[in-house]
C-alpha cells in the first residue's frame, strides 16, 4: 500500500489535536459512514491528533468513539439557539445569537490548526471552530468535504446570498464527492475552481458472513427463489421510494416474479407512511418489502440479485459502490457519481434519464432475463471498485488534501 508523507505534527503523541472533523450526525447514512471508514484508516495508519465533533448523535456514535475522540455538541445548546432564532425573528429583530450560542457550546472543543466540515451541513460550526483557532496562536485551515448536490445544498446553506458567499469564501479547500458535486460548487455556488479537489466516495471492502447473507436473503425473499431487486437509501423523496414502487408495479407481470426490497429509513417517518400507502394502492404489499436502516446493509446487498438507485439527486451513493463490490449489476437514474461508475465499466445503457421509470423497468427486466449478463456486469463492477474505490485507494489522497 503506498504511504504518503504525513505531517510530523499528526504523529506527535501528547500534543493537541491537529485535525478536527465536524460531522452533522452519527446516522448510518452516506457521509457519516464514509467518514467512519476514513477515521478507521487513520487509526490503522496510526495517525494521531484527530478529533471528531458531531452536531448530533446517532447509531454510529459508539463506532466513532472506538476509533477517535468524539464529542457530541450539547443538543440543548443547539435547540436553544434555534428557539432564540425563531423568537428574535418573530419579533422582527433577527439576531445572530444562535451562532454565539453554538460558540459557547464549542468551548469544550480543543483548538486545532485544521478543521474539516464533513458536509455542507456542518460547515457553519466548522467555521466557528476555525475562526476561534485563528484568533489564538495560529491560522486555522478550513476544509469542506461536500457530499451534497443542489437540492440539499440550497436547503442547508444560508438563504442570504451575502451570508452564503461569506461562508463559502471562508473555506480554504473544498473536497467534492463526485464530478457532479464539483460542477455544482464551481458553476452554481461560484466557488473558485482552483479550490476544488474531486475525491470520489469510497468504501471499505464489505465482508458479510455467509450466515448473515443467508439470513438477509431469507428475509428479503421469504424463502422463495424469486429474484430480489434492492434499493438502498434513506426514506426521502430525494431517494425516490415512490418511483421504486412504480418501478415494481411495472414489473408485476414479469415472468420471474421479482420481489422488491427498499432498505433504509425509519418506520415512523411520513415518507414511510406514504410508501406503505403506495404499496397498498398498487397491490404490491406482498411484492415489496420495506426494511428500516440495518447495521449490516452489506449482507442485504450481497444477497440481492440486482441493485437499483431511483434517487433523483445523489452525489455518489455508497450503496451502489457496495453493490459493485459485491459484484451486483446496478441500474440507476443519471445523478452524481453513479454515472461515472457505470460509464467506467462501459455500461451507459444502465444509466437511465431521471424519472424514466419505464426505461429503468426495461433495463431491469432485461437483466432479470439474462443472469449471465447480470453476472458479467457485476464482475466488471467488482473489478472496478476493487481497483479504484476502496478506502486504501482514496484515503491517502484525502488525507493529503486535508493536511497539505
Amino acid at each position: 500500500m503506498p504511504h504518503l508523507p504525513i505531517d510530523s505534527l499528526v504523529k506527535r503523541a501528547g500534543a493537541g489535536p491537529t485535525v478536527t472533523f465536524v460531522g452533522h450526525d452519527a446516522s448510518r447514512t452516506g457521509a457519516p459512514v464514509m467518514l467512519y471508514s476514513f477515521l478507521r484508516w487513520l487509526q490503522t495508519e496510526e495517525i494521531e491528533g484527530v478529533q471528531l465533533v458531531l452536531l448530533a448523535g446517532g447509531p454510529m456514535l459508539a463506532d466513532y468513539q472506538a476509533v477517535v475522540p468524539t464529542q457530541v455538541l450539547s443538543s440543548r445548546v443547539l435547540t436553544g439557539s434555534e428557539v432564540i432564532a425563531s423568537v428574535t425573528s418573530s419579533l422582527g429583530h433577527p439576531l445572530h445569537m444562535p451562532q454565539t450560542l453554538v460558540g459557547v457550546g464549542l468551548r469544550s472543543v480543543a483548538a486545532s490548526p485544521i478543521v474539516v466540515a464533513n458536509t455542507l451541513a456542518s460547515l457553519g460550526t466548522a467555521k466557528l471552530l476555525a475562526d476561534r483557532a485563528s484568533t489564538t496562536t495560529m491560522t486555522a485551515r478550513l476544509v469542506c468535504h461536500v457530499h451534497e448536490l443542489d437540492g440539499v445544498a440550497q436547503r442547508i446553506l444560508p438563504a442570504s446570498l451575502a451570508n452564503r458567499s461569506s461562508l463559502l469564501d471562508s473555506v480554504d479547500r473544498f473536497i467534492a464527492a463526485s464530478e457532479a458535486v464539483a460542477a455544482m460548487l464551481v458553476d452554481r455556488l461560484c466557488v473558485d475552481a482552483s479550490k476544488v479537489t474531486v475525491i470520489e466516495e469510497f468504501i471499505e471492502r464489505p465482508n458479510p458472513t455467509p450466515a448473515a447473507m443467508a439470513a438477509a436473503r431469507k428475509r428479503m425473499s421469504g424463502g422463495t427463489n424469486r429474484p430480489v431487486i434492492l434499493n438502498v437509501g434513506a426514506m426521502s423523496h430525494r431517494k425516490g421510494p415512490e418511483r421504486f414502487v412504480d418501478l415494481m408495479s411495472t414489473l408485476a407481470d414479469h415472468p420471474r416474479l421479482p420481489l422488491g426490497v427498499w432498505l433504509g429509513g425509519e418506520r415512523n417517518s411520513s415518507v414511510w407512511a406514504e410508501t406503505e400507502h403506495d404499496l397498498a394502492n398498487s397491490n404490491l404489499a406482498d411484492t415489496v418489502l420495506l426494511l428500516p436502516t440495518q447495521e449490516d446493509s452489506a449482507s442485504y446487498i450481497a444477497a440481492a440479485d440486482l441493485v437499483v438507485s431511483t434517487a433523483i439527486e445523489d452525489p455518489f451513493p455508497l450503496s451502489v459502490l457496495e453493490a459493485a463490490a459485491a459484484a451486483k449489476a446496478v441500474v440507476a437514474f443519471e445523478s452524481g457519481g453513479v454515472i461515472d461508475m457505470l460509464s467506467a465499466v462501459d455500461h451507459p445503457e444502465l444509466i437511465v434519464p431521471i424519472g424514466d421509470t419505464l426505461g429503468m423497468s426495461a433495463a431491469v427486466a432485461s437483466l432479470l432475463e439474462n443472469s449471465q449478463r447480470r453476472e458479467l456486469i457485476g464482475s466488471q463492477l467488482a473489478d472496478w471498485v476493487g481497483a479504484t474505490h476502496l478506502v486504501q485507494h482514496m484515503a491517502p489522497v484525502l488525507w493529503q488534501t486535508v493536511t497539505q
Partner: protein, 403 residues
Amino acid sequence: MSAELPRAQEPTIWIAVHDLSRTGVPVLLTRLLRAVSATQRAQVHVVAIFGGPLLSELTPLCASVTVLEPMDRRSAHAVASLGLLTLGMGRSGELVRNTAWRAKLARQKNPDVVLVHGAGAWPVVEVVGSDVPVVVHLHELGTALDRSIPVQNQAAAFQRAQQVMVVSEPVGQLAQHRGADLKKIMMMPGCVQLPSSAPPDSVGPDPVGPDLVEADPAGPDLVQPGAVGEQWVLGAGTPGWRKGTDRLAAVAHELRRDQSAARVGWVGGKPSGSDATAIGRFDPVTWFEEQADPWPLLSCADVFVVPSREDPLPLVALEAGAYRRAVVAMPTGGLPQLLADGRGLVGGTQSLRWFVGAVQQVLDSPAMAEEMGERLHEYVQAHHDVAVLAPAWFQALVHVASR
C-alpha cells in the same frame, strides 16, 4: 366587508380553513361563497390559520377574514407553543396558542356554527365554546387526514361534529371508519362554475424556471400550448407526492420513445425541496407557474392527466369536464366514479404502465377524447354545478346552527 348586514335571526357562521393558498380546499370555499347571496355571505366570518393569495379574493365575499398566523415567520406564541411541545408539555403549548388565537378573534361575533372546511383547520374548533355546533367538511383521504388530526383524536373530532360533509364516497367511508356516525355524513362534492361554451382565448404566462429553455431541446418557441397541430398532455396542482407529479417525467420519456411529438406540461409550479429534479439534468416536463385561472392554458390539453396518489376529488378534474377535456386519471378518491361509464379513463390500480398506455391511447384517438370530454361535461353539469350545490351547502350550515 359586505354592505348588507344580516338580519337578527340569521346565524353567524364561522368558516375555518387551514390556509388561503390557491389550492383545492380554499378555492372551493371561494367558489361556494361567490355562489351564495350577498345576504348570506354577510353572515360568514372566515378564520384562516395561515394567509395566502386567495385572501384578496375572499375578503369581499364575507363579513370578515381573520388570519391567525403570519406566513413569513413564526409568531411569538407559536414559538412558545413549539418550545413547550419540545419540552413534552404539549397541552400547555396548545393553551398558549389557543389563548393567542382567542385574543385575535375576540372582536368577532360569537359563532352559531363553525364549519371546519378541511381537516387542517380542526385546531380552530379548540378556540370556540364546546356548545357551539360544528360541521366538518372533509376533503381528505387517509394520509392527509392523519397529518391534520392525530389518529387517536379523530373519533372524538367526528363525535364533536354535528354534521360531516364529504367530497366523495371514499372520503365518506374513511370518515365512517374513523368514527363518524353514518347518519351525520352528508355528500357535498366539489363543484365548478360552468364556463361559457367558447374556449378561453389566450394562453397563460411563460413556463417556470430559468433553466427551462436550456433543458428543453425543442426550444422556447414551442413551450406554450395552443400551437396548431401540437399535442399537449397537461395537468395542474401543487407538485409533489400526493399529486404524483414525479410520474409526468415517465409519461414524457415514454412518449419520446414512442416517437410521439406530444408535450407534457404541468400548471402549478416546479417541484421543489426533496422532489426537485437535479439541476443540470434534462427534464422533459414543462412546468408552468401557478396562476389564478389556469384554464386558458389547460383547455389546450389533448389529454388532461391526474396522476395523483391520494386525491379525494380534485377540482381540476371537474373543471376539465367543464371544458370538455378528456381525462386520464389514477384511481384515487372520487375519480373512479367521476370518470366511469366512458367519461374518462381511470386505472384499476395505481399502475404507471397502465397510465402511460392510457395517455397514448387518448392521444392516438381524438374522436374518443372528444366523446369522453362531452360525457364528462354532461355529468359535471348535472352533478357538480356550483349554482346547485352552493345553496344546499349554505342551507346545511344554517340548519345545523338552528338545531
